[in-house]
Symmetry: C2
Subunit: 333 residues, 2 copies
């Protein structure tokens, strides 16, 4: 296992210390239980937004805490759900009197623990709504999920809902918006290589030198099929076709196109993939109005990419463009 | 070779097409010869700044074209210097009457070709100054360089000089500032794995499962030594110690600390490394006033990191903080 780490058991704590030392102007970090909150939390009279999940997907979610996006993030151990007490503590820390939205990716452990934390918070008089993101069209059920997995649309929902909350929207409005983003977003990913969970010390799965996994999950869980390595144009079509067919997206649609790196794939390849996606969508009359290209929802050092499309309307486009000031996404400030 | 590409010969052109399709709101791309310019080039009565070098280091340099940073970037083929005609064409395209600065990383081919282009441009009446960046303390001479290589300080120089030019500084002032950044910046890098140049199809070098290369160059050229794999704390000390000793940096110094990913190393590990660097510098009385953490000067899919320190003063700190609007670095707008 070749990683820039000290002990496998130290990775998450030391990562959080690094985030605190680097971004103390914008966030505060709590340890035991672990969570990251915006520095000015709790923001009074603003619907607060929390997300969380296993570590190993950075910058998601800790890198998205700050003005215009998340109020808090709860990082579990690598690829491990955060615990209810973490989520509860973060919920208490950000509650500013207007309720708290939990944005939850659809993994069984995450769902259970967020639900338990929401119940406990409600018992303390905090209004909590939860929205489950399940945008991955690759497989119906998987190793860790009943139904579809939550992947790239989570990043877009956090940005768009964060802008709405910053603008004064109510908890109900922000939750409805989150459901709308999930309803209009679809994703699929692929891997060229496996990743290695530090505590496991060996690759999660094996892929031959001329193989790739299409429909991979962000924890290396199996996808649709293992195939012979193909060109970028072919790979992008294998991902984009099921996405476009699923919603479906059609001529005249305007979308945000998100080409995400899995952690080990460099930007030069993501731009080649973006070009392939641009050609593919252009040929189907679908217009890319906004884009996001880079490693935003990663799977440790896995090589590969995922594609997310989000159908835009005036509201979601405006909220996407609104100022954001987080370590991972920043513009307008 | 596992990459998201079509043919090896198509990588750079398709990457540029992707950049043009994604960022057409901010940049224009020219093909044959290849260069990227800010959309509003030439900006009249502003000193223009150009950089360039081989592709494979993205987002450097193409991702740094835009308001507050570069006026143009000249990407060569992967790990191959741009040609004089590319650089000349870019120089002509951005010349707004106040001269053009060439920021050149110290590699023999880059130096020769930038010099030739500068001579040709001067022959056409364009005032050109060139500053060579040579911040890598790892080795004195290397496979492609006489003297020290130019690495991470290049990114910082482009940002800081870009802000000065945007603010109305003269060509001479911007060039002097660039020399100051180079004089106050030092870097060193390491690799956990090799990278594979698409046209070569096989790894540039071999590293055993328990080996790493300390002092690696951004093209995979040899460093100081090949060592047994170590912890993040030990690795960071192996990089930081020669940097700190070289300038030297000492108690009371205020620095920008840049922890750079080589392309295949995910953000979670870079934050662990940043934490190690923070501890190391704190113990020596050196204060980190600004930071940059992520893959900004990469070496294709190489796993590893580099550290750059830049001693800050009021001028460079203010210029670092100034607004920038490029695909790769953006804040304040």
């Amino acid at each position: 296992m070749k990683k820039l780490i000290n002990g496998p058991e130290d990775v998450v704590r030391e990562e959080l210390q690094g985030i605190e030392e680097a971004h103390g102007d914008r966030v505060r970090v709590s340890y035991d239980p672990n969570y990251i909150v915006r520095k000015d939390a709790p923001v009074q009279n603003k619907a607060a937004i929390i997300s969380g999940g296993g570590s190993g997907h950075e910058p998601m979610h800790g890198g998205f805490v700050g003005m215009g996006m998340l109020d808090a993030a709860c990082p579990g151990e690598v690829f491990t759900s955060p615990t209810p007490d973490q989520i509860l503590a973060a919920t208490q820390a950000v509650s500013g009197g207007k309720g708290v939205l939990h944005i939850v990716k659809n993994y069984t452990g995450d769902i259970l623990n967020f639900e338990m934390a929401a119940d406990l918070a409600r018992g303390e008089g905090i209004e909590v709504e939860a929205v489950v993101i399940d945008d991955d069209v690759a497989v119906k059920d998987s190793l860790y999920t009943a139904g579809r997995r939550g992947v790239g649309a989570t990043v877009l929902a956090e940005k768009i809902c964060g802008a709405a909350a910053e603008g004064g929207a109510s908890l109900r409005q922000v939750a409805d918006l989150c459901r709308k983003v999930n309803a209009n977003g679809r994703s699929m990913g692929m891997a060229l290589t496996s990743c290695t969970v530090p505590a496991a010390g060996k690759p999660t799965f094996e892929l031959g030198e001329d193989e790739m996994e299409i429909g991979i999950g962000i924890h290396g869980e199996p996808g649709r099929e293992r195939r012979q390595l193909a060109t970028a144009d072919e790979i992008v079509e294998m991902l984009a076709q099921p996405i476009v067919d699923d919603l479906p997206y059609g001529p005249g649609d305007k979308v945000l196109a998100f080409v995400n790196g899995m952690g080990g794939t460099p930007l030069i390849e993501l731009y080649v993939a973006y070009h392939a996606l641009y050609k593919y969508l252009h040929g189907r009359g679908i217009t890319i109005e906004r884009n996001l290209i880079g490693p935003y929802i990663t799977s440790l050092e896995m090589a590969g990419c995922s594609i997310t499309l989000l159908k835009l309307d005036d509201e979601t486009r405006r909220l996407w463009d609104a100022p954001v000031n987080t370590p991972g996404l920043r513009w307008g400030v």
